[in-house]
């Protein structure tokens, strides 16, 4: 999988590169509009992470360029401008997703994976970890021993942890992804724990060979047993 990151902020670029390299993607980078357009013109990418505010122009031009040249790269806009207008404009111009800064690395990873899944497998790909199969599109999670009855939130937690397999997912990243921005740091996210407890019980019932580990009380990690 080949990913192009277009971002003028060097440290931001480095962060995104570091986190995506761990997932064994091939990463290329561009830090301004011209070099980005040059790269997009020559190579094909599976996914482009695009900052809107670039020193020599707006990232929207890359979207226009892709559309004119009938390229089908998946584009995730990464912008500090978290306004609805920007979001709508970006999505209408052909972007597939919009990620507002600041974001969690786990969230970036989940968004990229979801995009690649939609692009490559038309959404029908099933996440497989050991004997656990998660059909994201149809809200089904099962092993050979049976299917889990999960509510929406439990399913979201499981999917999120599964896409970030073997990575530490902090409670705040998890809460923000599953419950939304507004939940803030209400009560230190203690309410997450009861959902995790249910999820663990249900995973055990179907003898899934994965476990959700609590890491120092700061977050969770899904790994093989």
């Amino acid at each position: 999988m080949k990913i192009l990151i277009v971002e003028d902020e060097k440290d931001m670029l480095q962060n995104m590169q570091d986190t995506l390299i761990k997932e064994n993607y091939l990463i290329e980078t561009a830090s301004d509009l011209n070099s980005a357009i040059a790269k997009v013109g020559v190579y094909d990418y599976d996914c482009i992470l695009l900052d809107i505010n670039l020193p020599d122009g707006s990232g929207m031009e890359i979207l226009n360029f892709l559309r004119k040249n009938e390229k089908t790269e998946g584009v995730i806009i990464v912008s500090a401008r978290n306004s609805l207008d920007d979001r709508l404009l970006g999505l209408n111009t052909g972007a597939d997703d919009y990620l507002a800064k600041p974001f969690h690395m786990a969230e970036l990873n989940a968004r990229v994976k979801a995009l690649l899944r939609r692009k490559k497998f038309a959404g029908s790909e099933v996440l497989k970890i050991a004997n656990l199969c998660i059909d994201v599109e149809n809200y089904i999670s099962k092993t050979e021993h049976g299917e889990m009855e999960l509510n929406r939130k439990e399913f979201d937690i499981l999917t999120y942890l599964a896409t970030n397999q073997n990575r530490l997912v902090s409670k705040s990243a998890l809460a923000e992804h599953v419950w939304g921005d507004h939940i803030d740091q209400a009560d230190n996210f203690e309410f997450i724990y009861s959902q995790i407890k249910n999820l663990r019980k249900k995973l055990k019932e179907i003898k899934a060979e994965v476990e959700i580990k609590a890491v120092y009380g700061i977050g969770y990690k899904l790994s093989l047993t």
Partner: protein, 423 residues
């Protein structure tokens, strides 16, 4: 006290003293003049009486006034010597008034054929009490007349003269620095008012400028802060994925992340606040608050279960209003979250929705400081996670749509939104 009444009050007191003083002086002057002319009359009569007695051969004494106006007695030489004409006031019984009335009396002594005579002449006198009464009444009428004319003059002329001043006050009352409202100043014929207007114009434009630059500064600062915060959080997250980390180190890193996240949220709240105040949320839609409230409460379901708090929504009526949907969501979310987080002892949260009001209440021990409740950075002691901006944001949104946000304490905290009638 109004300016017009204030000056009128001074005029009234001033006139009162001037008129009283003037009345006293007038009274004594008049009295003096009356006595003077009466005494002249008595003197004249004395001379007439003496001349008459000279015409007669013998003097007939008169012991009482009877039908006349004088008494004539013969007196001894001893008592006559050294006697001088004297005028004095005395009382005499008057037939017509059937009462004792004051009279003016002249006593004089003259000599005829070695015999001394004493002459007493009277003339009826002005009644002082009547005079004072008359004078008092005319003064009161004059006083009232003057006050009335001053009031009328004040209202007609002064009001016209001070008109630019009152207009200015009205304008200043309606001026709100955060609302970008302009102040209109009229030119006046009076120099002082023009100077006042110019100075106020200058002051206002200065304040507006500094207000705007301050706002701009906050916006820019928040915006520029966002990227470095994001980078730092991400770097720490990557560091956290390092398996060689020990627990103590990881816990410290997480604590740094949490604080940076707080900073970031705080920053976003500030940005949101300035965006609301800058009216950067144009899209307006009809929002059904009953549905919206239910959705928000559903979103908080897990937190509510965890805190063992129950929320009761009472839909008395449908409440629809035209707002930016994002802002409506933020407004109600903030108020509901506020009630959940500051709830004491698993209390019941009640939400009442009527056709033009939305009210949320939760049990609480003490009255909150109403004055500072909606100001920025109002911190609640027991919650270090709150940015202190939530209610300020709610208030800014409410203000934007002329919705009245109020707080009341009746054994429980009550936050109420009153919607304007014409929606």
């Amino acid at each position: 006290m109004k300016l017009l009444n204030y000056t009128s009050k001074y005029f009234a007191w001033l006139l009162f003293f001037i008129l009283t003083g003037w009345a006293v002086i007038l009274y004594f002057q008049m009295l003096d003049e009356i006595y003077d002319s009466m005494d002249d009359g008595l003197e004249n009569q004395k001379m007439l009486v003496i001349r008459n007695t000279k015409k007669q051969d013998s003097i007939q004494t008169r012991t009482d006034f009877g039908d006349g106006y004088y008494i004539l007695n013969s007196i001894s030489e001893k008592s006559a010597l050294g006697f001088k004409d004297s005028y004095r006031d005395t009382l005499m019984y008057m037939q017509n008034e059937k009462d004792y009335e004051p009279v003016r009396l002249l006593e004089s002594v003259f000599k005829r054929e070695n015999q001394y005579y004493k002459l007493k002449l009277i003339t009826s006198m002005v009644e002082e009490d009547d005079l004072i009464e008359d004078l008092l009444f005319s003064i009161i009428w004059l006083y009232l007349g003057l006050i009335l004319s001053i009031l009328i003059l004040n209202n007609l002329i002064l009001k016209k003269v001070w008109n630019p001043f009152y207009k200015l006050i009205d304008n200043l009352k309606n001026f709100k620095i955060e609302k970008d409202s302009e102040i209109e100043l009229e030119n006046s014929k009076i120099d002082e008012f023009n100077t006042l207007n110019e100075n106020i114009e200058g002051l206002i434009s200065k304040s507006v400028k500094s207000y705007r630059s301050q706002k701009q500064f906050i916006e820019n600062a928040s915006h520029e802060l966002q990227t470095p915060i994001a980078i730092s959080i991400n770097k720490l997250e990557l560091l956290l994925e390092d398996d060689s980390l020990e627990e103590a180190q990881a816990v410290r890193i997480v604590s740094v992340i949490e604080n940076l996240e707080r900073l970031s949220r705080f920053n976003q709240s500030l940005l949101l606040l300035s965006k609301i105040e800058n009216k950067q949320f144009p899209g307006v839609k009809e929002v059904n608050s009953n549905m919206l409230t239910k959705n928000i409460v559903d979103n908080f379901e897990d937190l509510l279960n965890h805190k063992n708090v129950e929320v009761q929504i009472k839909n008395i009526h449908d409440l629809n209003f035209s707002v930016n949907p994002d802002l409506a969501q933020i407004l109600l979310t903030n108020l509901i979250k506020n009630a959940i987080i500051h709830n004491s002892n698993s209390g019941l949260i009640e939400i009442n929705i009527d056709s033009n009001s939305w009210q949320i209440s939760n049990p609480g021990k003490r009255n909150l400081d109403q004055e500072n409740l909606f100001t920025r950075f109002q911190k609640v002691k027991d919650n270090s996670h709150s940015s202190g901006l939530g209610l300020a944001i709610s208030l800014a949104i409410a203000d934007l749509y002329q919705i009245q946000l109020s707080y009341n304490y009746e054994e429980k905290h009550i936050f109420k939104l009153d919607f304007p009638p014409s929606r």
